[in-house]
């Protein structure tokens, strides 16, 4: 039982990693329970189970325009923007 359960977890993680890998170069929105909670930017790469995102927007402007490395276990909600699918809203200060 325990063995099967591990397989499921591994399959789940692998599927997520693959999904993010296929999203490299695309824009992504990630919600995380950890500070600073929200990330919007381009997926630059995936190393093991860590996703590198060039973050254009997060909760605090002081933490933007830099790469963030986010462990996939710390991603609660995500959306990868792909062609033909709804766009992640453009977020501008003082729009």
């Amino acid at each position: 039982m325990a063995h099967r359960s591990n397989n499921v977890n591994a399959a789940h993680d692998n599927a997520l990693i693959d999904h993010f890998f296929l999203g490299i170069g695309h824009k992504v929105l990630v919600l995380s329970p950890s500070y600073p909670f929200v990330f919007i930017g381009e997926i630059l790469g995936v190393a093991d189970d860590i996703v590198e995102i060039f973050v254009e927007t997060t909760h605090f402007p002081q933490l933007e325009n830099r790469s963030w490395f986010i462990h996939i276990d710390n991603i609660e909600v995500f959306y990868i923007e792909r062609e033909g699918a709804p766009k992640i809203p453009k977020l501008n200060d003082m729009c």
């Binding site: 909760h59 605090f60 402007p61 809203p89 453009k90 977020l91 200060d93 003082m94 729009c95």
Partner: protein, 1214 residues
Amino acid sequence: MLRKYHIVAIPIRIVVNTFGDHNPNGRIYVLKENEQKAKDLVKKNPFTPVDLIEPLTIRANEGDTVEILFENQLNFAAGMHFQEIDYNVLTSDGADAGFNPDTTVNPGEKIVYTLYATREGTCFFTDLGNVSSTEEGSSVQGLFGALLVQKRGSSWTDPITGRPLNSGLYADIHHPFLPSFREYAWFFNDEMEIKDLTGNNPLNPMTNQEAESFHGVNLRYEPATNRKRLIDEGVVCPDCDGEEVHHDSWVFGDPATPILRGYKGDPAIIRLIHAGVKETHVFHYHVHTWLSDPSNTQSEIVDAQSISPQSHYDVQPLYGLGSLQGAIGDAIIHCHLYPHFAAGMWGINRVFDTLQDGSQCYPNGEPIAALQPLPDRPEPPRPTLERPGFPNFIPGKVGLKAPRPPLGIVGGRDMTEMERNAAIPNARPGAVFVDPCMEDPAVVEFNVSAIEMPLVYNKQGWHDPKGRLYVFDEELDDVLSGKKEPEPLVFHVPAATCIRLNLTNRLPHVLDGDAFQLVTRAYEVGFHIHFVKFDVLVTDGANVGWNYDTSALPGETIQYEWYADTELKAFFLHDHLFANAHQQHGVFGAGVIQPRFSQFFDSRTGEEVDHGTQVTVSHPLIPDYRDLTLYVHDFALLFNKDGCPIQPPEYPGSDDDPGVFGVNYKCEPLQFRLGKDCDPAYSFSSYVHGDPVTPILRAYEGDSIRIRLLQGAHEESHSFNVHGLKWSQERKDLNSDTKAQQHIGISESFTFEMEVPYSGDYLWAFETEEDVWLGTWGLIRAYDELVDDLIVLPDRACLPPRSKPLPTKTGKPPIRANPQASLPPYAFPGTPVRKYDVVAFQTPIIYNSYGDHDPFGIVFALAEDVEDILSGKKNPEPLVLRGNVGDLVEVSLTSMLKKELFPYPDGIHPYPPVKEQAFYPPSLRISLHTNLLDYDVKTSSGETAGYNLDQTVGPGEVITYRWYVDQQYGTCAMWDMADLRNHRSFGTFGAFIAESRFTSYHDPYSLQPVKTGTNVVLKHPTLPDTREFVMIMHDGVRLEDKNGQLIIDPKDGVIPEVEELEVDTYDYGSRGFNYRTERLINRYRELPEMSKLFSSELFGDPATPIFEAYPGEPVTIRLTNPAERRRAHTFHLHGHAWKFDSKDLDSMVQSFVGHLVAGQTENLRLLGGAGSTYHFPGDYLYRSGNVRWDIELGMWGIFRVHDKLKPHLPRLED
């Protein structure tokens, strides 16, 4: 570890400031080792404050056993009662409660108290041997202190010497692996006896009347009156007026009140303790913010916090001293209630940027005491001639007003060389010594003027001829010409915005005199802000300590800069120079920090805007919402249409509660909404009277809304209630309790986020009796179909076009609502139904065995109990209904009210009084309103408000309300809404308890199922059996004694008797729990020994409920205050504690509930069950924390934990 303290209670003269004001009859606790030294010093310094004469502050660590040897040198029996700590109630309660042994001691005697420090935090202690509210009492005269329990393994040192410390208000706390921090104990106390240097009552030099009573900190106060005298005598600052320099150290030197010293960035905790007896204060700390519950990171961020007697909070400034921006300088800390602030209830947090080793001096030559750097933080730079550090780079002149800031005044001065050395590289107007706006954020700029103009409050012509307010410059012409209705200034900015504000002072130099006020040369005005980040030296909008005077003179413009680092609530802004003189005229406003990337629209036109009390907010990611700002304010100094002052004080300049109240500069008094039928049941009806002039917050059914609640002026507590809606107490926290009521004091700010489920008119009201009587109520109106002048939220589908016309005033009462026509929003067809038949009727209520009774009581009862109550077989108790989650509760209400059974046939209800008495005869209609439950507001809220149909019933009529129990709320308050003025003080209230699904309710003695009752056992298939006690704490009661004489409380209940008593309208009335009161005066007349008055051995048990349990049994207390006065109470249960938020495991633990006012609901799950952690049996007092005047007036009772099985009380099953 065992710690021992030998503490002595001594009578002593307490000198409270350097002007020689003193309490000749002070009483304090002092360590035995300091006793003689303290007495000698006081003898040698009869007119100078002595450091040892302060509230005793001792320390221990979590897990310690603390042994207190208490010695009584007072001339009456006394003791020490500790809060928040475990102890054996039979040996260490410090009281003579119930059948416990007496643990107070007579003069000259000693006793040992043993305490178990289970948790970190503040353990306040005071005496319960003498609870007189007069100067004969103990607590009121200074007998209090605190045991501060630190994290296990902590040690503490003297901040000046660095040496270990045995007691003291201020300490540096160290821990092997946690950061060291500064600990400051801050004791508010009020109403203490004070004489001036000559031994007479202090006088106010402005009015030549007696000065405001003592309101101080740590047994010190620094009133404006003393400092004003020095100006009037030409000793200092001859061109000053008084209030604008009250806190100015350049003029007067530092105050006698606390100066909390630290270095920039130091971690700190202020142990905020209310040791006073009467008032609910608002603690405000400039520059800094903190979590309202320090143990819960999801709790609200606050920078002002109400605190009522015998309660306490930890104030742990986020980012340490100086906040995120690292501000240096003097941050004033004060009670925000202006009369208290002026009376001297303030101090300073001084944040240094250079090392203080004892060799430096302040600009006036006073030495700066050394301050040890915290050992785990870098040592600050040493001062040099070029860079002396704060305050010595500021070019002020001693004896004159603080200098104006560099750069900030338009047309003003540049920096001096010393200032330039201290400045940031890119110094600019409003940001000179610290940069609040980090990393080039977006910038917005506002231009605002302060002006004076008449403000009209209602259609009856109540007006303030000298209204003073902030107005956007672009709207000046429209506001002054009457094209635009004036309202409190509210602007909106997204988070992460740098705000630049230019304030121009267009006020007249002089605030003219009238029946309310004396002529005041209010020639300066500022723009003090809360919450945001700023440079306190140049942008505080105030004049504090050794800072600059950051205000604008007449005709002058000053520039401020602030940073909104994150989404905040509405942040309060107001003048800080002449606030006591003119803030109540309207000088207040707010900024709202909205989520980043928000846009704001005029809700009527859809045009983009950046200000307004009602806007629509749109956001790319989160749901759009309506944003609505409400300001309550008191001390509104209004005149009627004939030019007569409304509620003027006894003499101009008195702070004795002058004037009336408003909301956003409007009020809708109930006396003007009586109608042809003279029936108060329709006072809120727009059908009969049209809409009120107070704000109507408009939305569509299903909209999200956020209400920003603030208080703009001036001294009093208010209780905000919304009928039919509710919100999370901690907005960010998914585990939060749900509330429909909020206590508020001046400068506090709350955001309530909710959805409006159904169309209809939702009443909002500041719902204590006098508030609502004077017109502080209005509506939230939700439309079901489109209206022309309200845009649809951008992210919602368009609503159906209007198919029927909007209702209008008819002058006639609406038809009866039919609650059966709809289901509550969250109910579903087939929901199980629980039914109650309730009757409202008049019956005498016997309040105690001494014959105190209410011959005109009005009660709600189950139909099956009516006969027993009317025949005298049953003495009624407030009705408590229950339902489980998932129940649809149908309550059929019948009125049996009779006109002849009301006491005042002339239609004026004289006692307990309210301001502006007027003809308002009692209604024979009645209703039931509950808060929190789910219902259709158009049919089942219990009030006939706005354009809702009639939800009240007349004699012989029946209405069946439908309430759905959608959550396990526990306590829901319940009260009549047909006539708040004439019914509620006679008993028309109760509670609804929303229990978990599958719960059954049982009589505690027979364990048989019951339908109602204040004392039940809850049984549940999967939860432990639990005792549930419902405590309804109420005031404003009209009682007669056994001879039929009206009891005028508080005067008739004060011990010892007094000739005269200064009483505010909202303090009148008797009070107690559950229609019972044990007024101590009755016991005192039998046996005049103060320390014995809680004894059941001598007097038998009190009339108030005796709640019983066995050690360790689960106990939940359901506490509410449905009625009715504005004076806030504290609830305290001896020896027990509970989570502040009953739904949240992260919540802080406390043994009190603060600032209880009408509508409040609380659930207290006793940690460790009956007898607390150690399951100690005995009698535990439950009581108010207000020594003045609740305890004397009978607001106390007993929770009895039996050690042996009693035949009448079965044990709960494990």
